[in-house]
């Protein structure tokens, strides 16, 4: 991927090399300019202009394709965020199947984002920023390993001392808070990945 910086370096190198080549020509006066309208001169000028146009169009096409791919990536991150919102809603019902299904969708989207980044040959640190599977697995463990809803239902059904009931209630509250925190961390990571990809878009 050619960034703005490397384009500038290439351009500067081209100017220097061109100047160095021109020096002996100017010094020894090998070529002299003669304004003549011959068929050969006109053909040569046309060919040069066409080549310039072709090269410019080609470079523009590459840049546009690159921009499109990055736009797709950014939209992909948006879909991951939307998936996380959807997961948050499933937590209210506490149905294990719904929660794990919603998390799997987010996980597959995350895996696809990494695959796209690898395919587009993004640097390793950008790819690492977009790896969310570990976070998703941790959230899945917390919400489906010991589902809060199931514990609460069980506590309400079974007779037990108030101390035990309170203890379980505080544990489930802690679990809920932990999931909230993990979810927030994951959202921040997705935002960061969006910023990193967006930054590479402007470079």
């Amino acid at each position: 991927m050619i960034t703005k910086f490397w384009s500038f370096v290439l351009f500067a190198a081209g100017v220097i090399v061109g100047f160095l080549i021109a020096l002996p020509v100017i010094f020894f006066g090998t070529f002299t300019y003669k304004a003549e309208f011959t068929t050969g001169n006109i053909t040569q000028a046309c060919a040069t202009i066409l080549t310039g146009i072709f090269v410019a169009a080609y470079v523009q096409r590459i840049v546009q394709a690159d921009r499109k791919e990055k736009d797709i990536l950014l939209r992909h991150f948006d879909s991951i965020l939307a998936g996380l919102e959807e997961f948050d809603e499933t937590r209210v019902n506490g149905v294990v199947t719904e929660m794990s299904a919603s998390l799997k969708r987010v996980k597959l989207a995350s895996i696809a984002a990494v695959e796209i980044l690898v395919h587009l040959k993004y640097p390793g640190d950008v790819i690492e920023q977009a790896r969310f599977e570990q976070f998703i697995n941790e959230i899945n463990d917390l919400v489906t390993g010991t589902p809060v809803k199931a514990i609460e239902e069980h506590v309400s059904k079974v007779k037990m001392s108030a101390v035990v009931k309170d203890g379980i209630s505080s544990l489930t509250s802690e679990l809920k808070l932990l999931v909230d925190m993990k979810l927030q961390q994951l959202k921040i990571r997705v935002f960061k990945a969006q910023v990193v990809v967006n930054k590479s878009l402007s470079n």
Partner: protein, 124 residues
């Protein structure tokens, strides 16, 4: 010339059990890990053991797995059905293209269940 034929049993959770795996216990809801282990997985494992075949479990195609479902299904084989990890390792193979990290997760549950089983056997 001797030809060795390796026979293989195949179990795809999405088509042989459900596309929407549920909670841990039967009492908690539909398509639980306990039900899967009891009615689908264990009979297949027994079949593989008696025929000396490899049972490949395909995890793809479902809507997603709850941790409790996986633990109850595969850890449960060791903890509840008293099958040693060593014997299961030689006949059970897992495959997943969608979520390859599930394989390590399942092996982790099975190892933990084996530790628990060994403790129980030691006490006896």
């Amino acid at each position: 010339m001797t030809t060795i034929i390796f026979l293989m049993l195949f179990l795809k959770i999405a088509s042989d059990f459900t596309t929407a795996p549920g909670p841990r216990h039967i009492s908690e809801g539909k398509f639980s890990g306990e039900l899967f282990r009891r009615d689908v997985l264990l009979p297949m494992v027994r079949k593989a053991q008696s025929a000396n075949e490899v049972l490949t479990v395909d995890l793809d195609g479902t809507s997603g797995y709850a941790t409790s479902f996986l633990e109850e299904s595969f850890g449960g084989l060791i903890r509840e059905d008293d099958l040693p990890l060593e014997s299961l390792n030689s006949i059970l193979k897992f495959t997943s293209n969608e979520e390859p990290d599930l394989l390590a997760e399942i092996h982790h549950y099975m190892k933990e269940a084996e530790t628990e089983r060994k403790k129980r056997v030691g006490k006896k």
